[in-house]
């Protein structure tokens, strides 16, 4: 059975700290891995990763994929209270339709002032 596992489940840090969120997967026919940020309601898209070793960066957020070890990390540097959210990892696989993602349970990140 395909699965996506995120760790830790929750994390509390102080403003200014750097955090690393983990996403590991066991799927057949991996196609891409996506990171989303979920605040009060809808997930918002952060990154899509398809190739190993290539870092995607957006401001203080960055992410990298390791297809050999089957995981991805999401780094947030100089955290701010506005980074508090649930961070979701999802994997798209061949074999399912083109249009279905397998979701992790999320990491709840709390940034204290």
């Amino acid at each position: 059975e395909d699965k996506v596992v995120q760790s830790p489940l929750s994390l509390v840090v102080h403003e200014g700290d750097t955090v690393t969120l983990n996403c590991s997967y066991e799927v057949t026919n991996f196609r891409s891995l996506l990171w989303y940020k979920q605040e009060k309601k809808a997930p918002t898209f952060l990154f899509m990763l398809t190739s190993s070793g290539i870092e995607k960066k957006s401001g203080r957020l960055s992410s990298i994929l390791d297809k050999k070890e089957l995981f991805s990390i999401l780094n947030i540097t100089a955290t701010q209270t506005g980074d508090s959210a649930i961070y979701l990892c999802a994997v798209d696989v061949y074999g399912y339709s083109n249009y279905q993602l397998i979701w992790g349970a999320g990491t709840k990140l709390i940034i204290k002032p």
């Binding site: 809808a42 898209f45 399912y96 279905q100 979701w103 992790g104 349970a105 999320g106």
Partner: protein
């Protein structure tokens, strides 16, 4: 910036009633999805829709559920005879048809459905 919109934001209904959740995807997007998230649990895929037909559906999406694109802009999820366990946040999402951006799904704000 274009966004996915959903109405209503919150709906309360009695068990056994039918509900229709409405979504307006981003206008030039071609792929549409419904997801649900029961409070405190994972986001779960329900159904995807392309070219006016269902592309894929999950085990959750049984005969109780149906989707429709009644016109060029709306995308609806109908739940017939609601059950208590249908209480959840329902998210609509859409993605573009261009290669490489198909999986960049944009989510609406969600409709919180409460079945009493």
């Amino acid at each position: 910036e274009p966004e996915v919109t959903q109405t209503p934001s919150h709906q309360v209904t009695q068990m056994g009633q039918e509900v229709i959740l409405r979504c307006v995807p981003i206008s030039n997007h071609l792929y549409f999805y419904w997801y649900r998230q029961i409070l405190g649990q994972k986001v779960e895929f329900l159904v995807s829709f392309y070219n006016n037909e269902i592309s894929e559906k999950s085990e959750i999406f049984d005969d109780q559920f149906s989707v429709e694109r009644p016109d060029g802009s709306n995308f609806t999820l109908k739940i017939r005879s609601t059950k208590l366990e249908d209480s959840a946040m329902y998210f609509c999402a859409s993605s573009a048809g261009t290669s490489g951006r198909r999986y960049e799904q944009y989510f609406g704000p969600g409709t919180r459905l409460t079945v009493t």
